[in-house]
Amino acid sequence: MRPLVNREDAKGAKIFWGVPRLLRGPTQMVLVFAFFVSSRFNSPALANPVDAFGFGGRAPAMAGAQTAAAADGSANYYNPALLATFDDIRVDVGYQTAVPSLFVNGLDLRVDSSRGLAVALSSPGRIGKVHLAVSGGLFLPDQHVLRARAIEADKPRFALYDNRPQRLFLGANLAFQIGDRLAIGGGIAYMAKTVASVDLVGRLGFPDPNDSDLALAIDADVKEIRYPQAGILFHATPWLDLGLSYRGGYKLILENTVRVLADVGREDDPVVENGRLELFALAQDLFQPQQWSAGLAARLTHRLLVAFDASLHRWSRFENPATRIDLDIDAGMFNDLIDIPDTPPLPDPHYHDIVIPRLGVELRLVESARRDLDLRAGYSFEPSPVPEQVGESNFIDNDKHTLSAGLGLTLRHWTDILPRPVRLDAYGAVTLLAPRSHHKLSPVDPVGDYRSSGRLVQLGLSSTWHF
C-alpha cells in the first residue's frame, strides 16, 4: 500500500482498502456516488465565511490550495474525497477571525469582521472491504448565525464581504477509497433561509385609525437548504496527488409578504368592503457561485510539500440582489384612483466568471519521534468578478492578493490519555485589495466617482485530535 502524499500520519495505522465485489470498478462507484448526490441535492450552494476566508488552521496558511492537500477536517470543505485517506478518527476544533479594513475614497466603511468556531469530526471505517469515512464540518460564527439584509440597488457595499461572511457553514460528507489510487467523496452542506408573512385581517378605521379592529398573524419559517459538494482524489505517483472538487451554486432569496384584508371605515358604514393590500418583496440576499477546483499536491522532498489549485467560480450567474416589490391593492370603488406603476427591471450586474490560482507550500522544519514542526506559506490571486461600477449599481469589489503563513506542531505520545498525535495549527494571512476606480457615466449619479481599496487580516488557531 502506497500512502497518499497528503496523509499526514500513517504510522502504525491499519489501512482498509477495497470495494464490494459488485462495485469493484471505478465506474460503478462513480455511479453510486452520483446517485447519492443527485438524488437529494438539486439545489446549489451558498456563500459563507469559509468561502471567503478558508476553513481550519492548516488550509488558510497555504492560501487554500487544498483540493489535493487537505489533511484534516477542512477536507469537508475543500475536497471530501480526501476524507477517505484518513486512517483514524479526527476531531478538529479551532477559532478563526477575519478583520476587514475596506475603504472607499480613503474612508473605512467599517464592514463587519467575521469570526467563529470551526469544528470537524472525521470518522473512517470499513464496511466489508470498503474503506470509507463519514465526516462533518461546521463553522459557527459567534456574532450572527445568519444575517439577512437587503439593500437598495444603488447603495454602495463591498459585494463580497458585506453579508457573505455572516453565516454558518455546515457540511456532512461521505467518502470512499477505490483501489490504491482513487478516492471519491461527496456530501451536502446545509443552510437556512427565511420566508415570512404578516397578515392583518379585520377592519381598518377611517378616518380615525384608532378605531381599527385588526387581528395580527405572523408566520415565519426557517427552511432548510441543501447544496451538494463532491470531489475526487487521484494518487498519480508516490509523490503526486491530483484532486478535483465541485461545489454547487446557490441563491438565497428573502421572501417577505405583508397582507392586509380589511374593511375600511366605520364598523357600521365601511367605505371599502373587503379591501385588500398585498406587498410581496423578493430579494437575493446571498449568492454563491458554482465552483470547480482542480489541484495538485506534490511532495517534492521528504520535507517539502507544494500544493497548487485553480478554481473556476461561475459568478456570471449572479443576479441583481436588490429587492423586487410587487404591490397589489383592491380598494373597491377607489381602484380607479390608484395607479401603481410596474416595478422597473433591475439592471444586470454583469458579473463574470473568474479563475483563482492558489499556491501553498509546507516545509517540515523539525521531525522527531515525539514532535514535528511544519512551516507553511501561501499566495492566492482572486480577480474581481465585478465590473467597474459606471451606472446606478454600486457593487464594490477589487482584485485580491492574499499572502499567508502558518505553523503546525504535531505532538506524539503527548500524554497517556492521548496516545495518538495531536496537531496544533496557527495561521495569519493578509488579503490586499488592489485600488480600483469607478467613474460614473451620469453627471447626476448621486454617488459619483469613487476609489476602493482595503485589506483583510485573518488569524486562526486550530487543533486536530487523533483517536
Binding site: 475614497n105 469570526r115 467563529g116 469544528v119 450572527h144 463591498f158 451620469s442 448621486p446 459619483g448
Partner: protein
C-alpha cells in the same frame, strides 16, 4: 497548551472575544448632491439651528463657503441694509454648523466704484492655492447689475478689485474652475434662466448664447416652474482623465405657494461633466427639504462622505444664513 485549550473551549461555548454592531454603512461615497436636511434644533449647542449667521438688524444672504483645514468653514456673504438697499460682502468663520462663529463677522469688501452703486454682494470665492483667492461679486442695482472681480494674495485678508471691472452684465455670479479655464454662471434680469460665460484668464468672459438652466413651467409639480436663479457651482475632480471635473450646480427655483398669490423658493441641483450641458437631478423635487419658509442662495461644501449646504431664508423680516447636511 492549556491556554490554547481554554481558547478553543471558550470559542466552543460561543464566547467570542469581541462584539460589535452590524457595520458596512459608514462613510459611503456621495457626490454631495443631496438630499439635504436642515440641522435640527439642539438646546445643548450654542448655535440657533439651523442658523449659523444671523443679525436682527440686517439681512445676511448668499453664503459662499470654503472649507477650513480643521473641518470648519470660511463663509463670505452679503450683508445688506434693508432700509437703504446698500450692501457689502462680509466674512466669518465657523468651527462647525452647531457653533457660533469663532471668527466673528467682519467686512471683507465694500462698494467703492461708481458702477457698484453702493452695492457689492452675492459673492463667489475660488481658491487658486497658495493663498490666492478670487472673488466674483455683483455690483450695482438689481435692475442693472454687473459682475466684478477682486483678488486676494493673502488668503482673504485683503482684496484688490480688478481694473477690468465690471467684467460682465449680470448678477449672482458663481465661479467654477474647469479643466481649461473658468466658467461663470450668473443670472440676467433681462433673460430668464441661469447663463454661463467662459474665460481662459478668468477676466475676459465669453457669454454662451443660451441659458444652461431654465425654469420648467411644463412640469407642474416642479419646484422651479417660474424662475431659476442664485447659482452655486461645486466643482470636484473625477477619476476619468477624459472628463476630469464634475460641476454640481445648485440653484434656487421658484414655484407657486399653496396660498394664492404667494411664491415659494427651494434649492435644486443639476450636474455636468463639461460645465456647459447640465442634467437635472431628483426629478421635480428640490434637494433641500421644501419650505415654507423659502430657502435660496445655496453654497455647498463637499466633506468626507457628505455635504454641507449653507442657505439663506427669511425669518422674522430678516434673512439669515442656515446650514443643512447630507446625508
Amino acid at each position: 497548551m492549556r491556554a490554547l485549550l481554554a481558547i478553543c473551549l471558550c470559542a466552543a461555548c460561543g464566547v467570542g472575544p469581541f462584539d460589535d454592531a452590524p457595520g458596512g454603512r459608514d462613510n459611503l461615497p456621495t457626490r454631495a448632491a443631496g438630499p439635504y436636511g436642515k440641522t435640527e434644533i439642539d438646546f445643548d449647542t450654542p448655535a440657533d439651528e439651523p442658523y449659523v449667521l444671523e443679525d436682527i438688524t440686517v439681512d445676511l444672504r448668499d453664503p459662499a463657503p470654503l472649507a477650513r483645514d480643521d473641518g470648519g468653514f470660511r463663509i463670505w456673504f452679503t450683508r445688506g441694509d434693508p432700509d437703504d438697499g446698500s450692501a457689502a460682502i462680509w466674512y466669518a468663520e465657523l468651527p462647525d454648523v452647531r457653533s457660533v462663529p469663532d471668527v466673528p463677522p467682519q467686512l471683507a469688501l465694500a462698494a467703492s466704484e461708481p458702477w457698484e452703486a453702493d452695492f457689492v454682494g452675492e459673492p463667489s470665492v475660488l481658491d487658486l492655492g497658495g493663498g490666492h483667492l478670487v472673488l466674483y461679486y455683483r455690483g450695482g442695482p438689481a435692475d442693472a447689475p454687473s459682475i466684478g472681480r477682486a483678488d486676494s494674495m493673502d488668503d482673504g485678508a485683503s482684496w484688490q478689485k480688478s481694473a477690468q471691472n465690471p467684467l460682465l452684465d449680470g448678477a449672482s455670479p458663481a465661479g467654477a474652475l474647469l479643466a481649461d479655464g473658468t466658467a461663470l454662471y450668473f443670472v440676467d434680469p433681462a433673460a430668464p434662466g441661469i447663463h454661463a460665460a467662459t474665460s481662459a484668464d478668468g477676466v475676459a468672459f465669453d457669454r454662451l448664447p443660451e441659458p444652461v438652466i431654465e425654469p420648467r413651467p411644463e412640469l407642474t409639480d416642479a419646484f422651479d416652474t417660474r424662475a431659476v436663479f442664485d447659482p452655486y457651482a461645486l466643482v470636484t475632480a473625477t477619476l476619468d482623465d477624459s472628463e476630469p471635473v464634475h460641476v454640481g450646480l445648485f440653484f434656487t427655483g421658484t414655484r407657486r405657494g399653496a396660498d394664492p398669490g404667494t411664491l415659494l423658493d427651494a434649492i435644486g441641483y443639476a450636474g455636468s461633466y463639461d460645465g456647459i450641458t447640465f442634467t437635472r437631478f431628483f426629478g421635480a423635487e428640490p434637494v433641500l427639504e421644501p419650505g415654507p419658509p423659502s430657502e435660496g442662495g445655496a453654497g455647498v461644501i463637499s466633506v468626507a462622505a457628505g455635504g454641507v449646504l449653507f442657505f439663506h431664508e427669511l425669518k422674522l423680516t430678516r434673512y439669515r444664513i442656515g446650514a443643512a447636511l447630507h446625508p
